[in-house]
């Protein structure tokens, strides 16, 4: 089974701190994604990576950056955390091509910025 793990389930940070959220997948997937999930807003794509060192902005990239130095690891960085970044963050991965575009999700990180 594909496994996507996220470094923390719960995280509390202070305004202005630099925050790193880590995601690791064990199935050699090309694509990796970071979403944030807020009540009533569904999943919104923050950033997407289709290969090592390759990234593409999603729908809401402002205030975030990402890093993908190895195929299995995709990091989300909040350069200076703000209270409006309090949210659930979900990482996902997928294969490319054929019928394999379904995404596999990690358990999520609930981030609170105070």
């Amino acid at each position: 089974d594909v496994k996507v793990t996220q470094s923390s389930r719960y995280l509390v940070k202070r305004t202005g701190e630099k925050v790193f959220l880590e995601c690791v997948q064990d199935m050699d997937h090309e694509n990796m994604f970071w979403y944030r999930q807020d009540p009533g807003l569904g999943l919104r794509l923050i950033y997407f990576s289709y290969d090592v060192k390759m990234k593409e902005k999603g729908d809401i990239p402002e205030g975030y950056s990402v890093s993908r130095e190895k195929k299995e690891r995709f990091s989300l960085i909040l350069e200076s955390a703000s209270t409006n970044q309090t949210s659930m963050y979900l990482c996902a991965s997928s294969l490319v091509g054929g019928s394999s575009y379904e995404q596999y999700f990690g358990p999520g990180t609930r981030l609170t910025v105070t």
Binding site: L41, F48, L90, V96, E102, Q103
Partner: protein
């Protein structure tokens, strides 16, 4: 651009009753369609997917969905709901021209009454 609408924010059904969750999509060509389920505090899990072929697809946990091109719909159904089906359900649309990115609906929360 692709988009998804889930018209029902919240649905309540009695245990043992049938269930239908609605999903309408917008995409010019043949879409890839998915239903995911999210239990409280967890990531999303794929229930079923449609790429081509038979328009009635079977998924895990006794769920099925039917692709209707004329109505741009991909409704999820289950003939008899169990209390463990209480969760949030997300419909998603993708295609093979945007590197595997999917667009998610806002979700439908299912409550199951005893």
């Amino acid at each position: 651009a692709q988009s998804v609408t889930q018209p029902d924010i919240h649905i309540t059904v009695s245990e043992g009753a049938s269930l239908e969750l609605r999903c309408n999509y917008s995409y010019g060509a043949t879409p890839y369609l998915f239903w995911y389920v999210q239990s409280p505090g967890q990531g999303l899990q794929l229930l079923l997917k449609y790429f081509s072929g038979d328009t009635l697809v079977q998924g895990i946990k006794g769920f099925e969905a039917e692709f209707k091109r004329s109505q741009s719909s991909f409704n999820l159904r289950k003939p008899s709901v169990h209390w463990s089906d209480a969760a949030e359900y997300f419909c998603a649309v993708g295609n093979n021209t945007n590197a595997g990115k999917s667009t998610f609906g806002d979700g439908t929360t299912l409550t199951v009454k005893p």
